[in-house]
Amino acid sequence: MSQLATFIEEKRQNKPILSMTHVVYGYPSVEESLSWMERLLEEGVDFIEVQFPFSDPVADGPSIVAACHKALEQKLDVETCLSQLGKIAKNFPDSRIVLMSYLNPMYRFGLDKLAKRAAEENILGLILPDLPIEQAATYQAACKANGIDPVWLVTPATPKDRLAMLAGQASGFLYCVARSGVTGHSVHEGKSKVNVLDDYLAEIKTHASAPMGVGFGLRHREQIEQLTGKADIAILGSALLDAFNKGGQEAGIKLIQDLFH
């Protein structure tokens, strides 16, 4: 079993659902984003999903788009980001960091090099939402060779046979997008009905041997409670960013406590 999946299974012995909190690297500055990650880890979140910003984040809604554009006002560098994350990972051995970005900055950095460097820094999972599995053979091989996991996404619009294929290939964990649309609150927000989400997660579970993470549109305690027993990880992205924007780290931490404690 992959290191990431093993970590999740072990943690799940004591916790009904794990938390993954999202941070945009470099927002509002590199230092502040690193300090925010440390604060979250001190709070005991199980995962941090670090987004390396891209100029054209098409799967993201307004909160994350604005944060990425703000972050890109400074020059950001993948190599520096990886070594900084590596240091944090070392200081917080009870949690894990996964790296999310869009394909182009990672493609320019080199996908082979990315897998190698991520593994060296103990970043065990990579999420690239605009790289379809059909184009990912060399990326998958690079991840495998370095013992880290490419995290695949499934959505409510994914056809059943494709869902089975993606779930079957999932390693580390499977990222289950809860609804149509982009991340966070926006005009481009798909609707999701409660029981439809339950059916959707049950359907995924019949195919997936890897743990399941659920994200997109989570911002209330009831939503997290609803996921408990049906998924392994609740992923908190834009809601946390919105709280952070309103009231800084303290507001963010309060949201996490409200949702998970």
Binding site: F54, S55, D56, P57, V58, A59, D60, G61, P62, V65, A66, H69, L72, K75, L76, D77, V78, Y102, L103, N104, P105, M106, Y107, R108, F109, P129, D130, L131, P132, Q135, W152, L153, V154, T155, A157, T158, P159, R162, L166, V177, S180, G181, V182, S186, V187, H188, E189, G190
Partner: protein, 418 residues
């Protein structure tokens, strides 16, 4: 041009968020079926003719030919399409496809506004709901087009993220599509984006080159020696060039926007002089203007329709293998070419198309007198009235605007009736 699984050499493909997979596959299959369905093709040809006025003429320019003293210059008059640009060819095709797929709403991105207007026209005619994404900066530059889109019943959404131009509008259209894919079709305006869009848009635009094949033989007894087209996204270039791809003796020249200079951010030159780099973004692989960290960069052109960070994967591939020669024209050369066409031939070209003119005018004097060149006049220039007036420093234009504003029925002039 047939792709290999959506790829043209190393460019193209489909790099989209998973949520769009089903809709992308639906378009792929619908397009494959439609282009092999004689009834669909008959309807397409009928609409091209009866709604857009095709075929468009191939116009010989005697005065320009004499002026340069070299090649014989012909214009393919896409400016005479309904809506005033070649964009109509594609929106009619995709509009009919939307009806075929049973969707009720279209989303489109637009730069200059030509594709936005064309989409709004077709949406009105086919009874489709229509939302147009347009960069806030482009809205400023091209307000007359925005006005007409709204009058046609479309919702125009200003995009205020990033550089607020075509690239940001495209991102936002993709985001809309991610949430509305079940009932909406993303009616992309150029031969970019995920497969099958580049191939599909090029297919619908190839009516341009197919007509030139017949018209050139009928009018001067041979295929043209050389073709010129401006290259923004690349749809009018694909349309003119692709039908001649196998005719090796026909040369092809694509003209990009040199803008104000060759520094990053001042131009939209992606395919020559090592200014663009291979990348994967906005759903496809192509040459993008980007920094060494893979962040897409701002671009500039006096023509909003050429102000785009990527380029058709088909054009990128054909440029790479040397089938198309790429060049560029600077903003001031473009205004000069536009002015020359006005004075010599009585035709008002769009600033986008004026890039093709500028590229061709540089070569024309040095080409043999018996050679024939065809320049794609992809759109008419009425929409550019404000920008051209400013560029030629027309002295009376500001007075006209002042007078117009003074007589404009504003809320204050009307009094508080609400």
């Amino acid at each position: 041009m047939q792709s290999e699984n959506g790829f043209y050499g190393q460019y193209g493909g489909s790099y989209i968020p998973e949520i769009l997979y089903s809709s992308q596959q639906q378009i792929l299959h619908a397009f494959e079926e439609a282009k092999n369905d004689p009834e669909f093709l008959a309807e397409l040809n009928k609409q091209w003719q009866q709604f857009s006025g095709r075929p468009t003429p191939l116009t010989f320019c005697a005065n320009l030919t004499e002026h340069f003293g070299g090649a014989q210059i012909y214009l393919k008059r896409e400016d005479l399409n309904h809506s005033g640009a070649h964009k109509m060819n594609n929106v009619i095709g995709q509009g009919l496809l939307v009806k075929r797929m049973g969707k009720k709403r279209v989303i489109a991105e637009t730069g200059a506004g030509q594709h936005g207007i064309a989409t709004a026209l077709v949406a009105a005619r086919l009874g489709l709901e229509c939302t147009i994404y347009m960069g806030a900066k482009d809205i400023e530059r091209q307000y007359p087009n925005v006005f007409w889109m709204k009058q046609l019943g479309a919702t125009v959404v200003p995009v205020t993220t990033g550089a607020q131009t075509l690239r940001d509008a495209l991102d936002e259209a993709l985001r809309d599509w991610s949430s509305s894919h079940e009932e909406s079709h993303y009616l992309i305006g150029t031969s970019c984006g995920c497969a099958p869009f580049p191939e599909m848009v090029a297919y619908f635009q190839s009516v341009i080159g197919n007509e030139v094949r017949e018209q050139s033989v009928a009018q001067f007894g041979q295929f043209p020696d050389r073709l010129y087209a401006c290259v923004g996204g690349g749809s009018n270039a694909c349309g003119l060039f692709l039908p001649f791809l196998d005719d090796k003796e026909v040369e092809m020249v694509g003209v990009e926007a040199g803008g104000k200079g060759l520094e990053l951010g001042e131009h939209s030159i992606r395919l020559s002089h090592n200014l663009g780099q291979p990348g994967i973004a906005q759903g496809f692989a192509t040459m993008f203007l980007q920094d060494d960290a893979g962040q897409l960069q701002e671009t500039h052109s006096i023509a909003a329709g050429l102000d785009y960070v990527g380029v058709s994967p088909i054009i990128a591939h054909l440029a790479e293998i040397g089938r198309i020669k790429m060049t560029y024209a600077m903003d001031d050369e473009v205004i000069a070419a536009c002015t020359l066409l006005l004075k010599k031939e009585g035709i008002i070209p769009a600033l986008e198309s004026s890039h093709a003119l500028a590229g061709a005018f540089k070569d024309a004097p040095n080409l043999p007198k018996d050679s024939k060149i065809v320049i794609n006049l992809s759109g008419r220039g009425d929409k550019d009235i404000f920008n051209v007036a400013k560029a030629v420093e027309d002295e009376t234009f500001p007075q006209f605007l002042t007078d117009y504003l003074a007589s404009y029925p504003t809320t204050q002039n009307k009094g508080d009736k609400a």
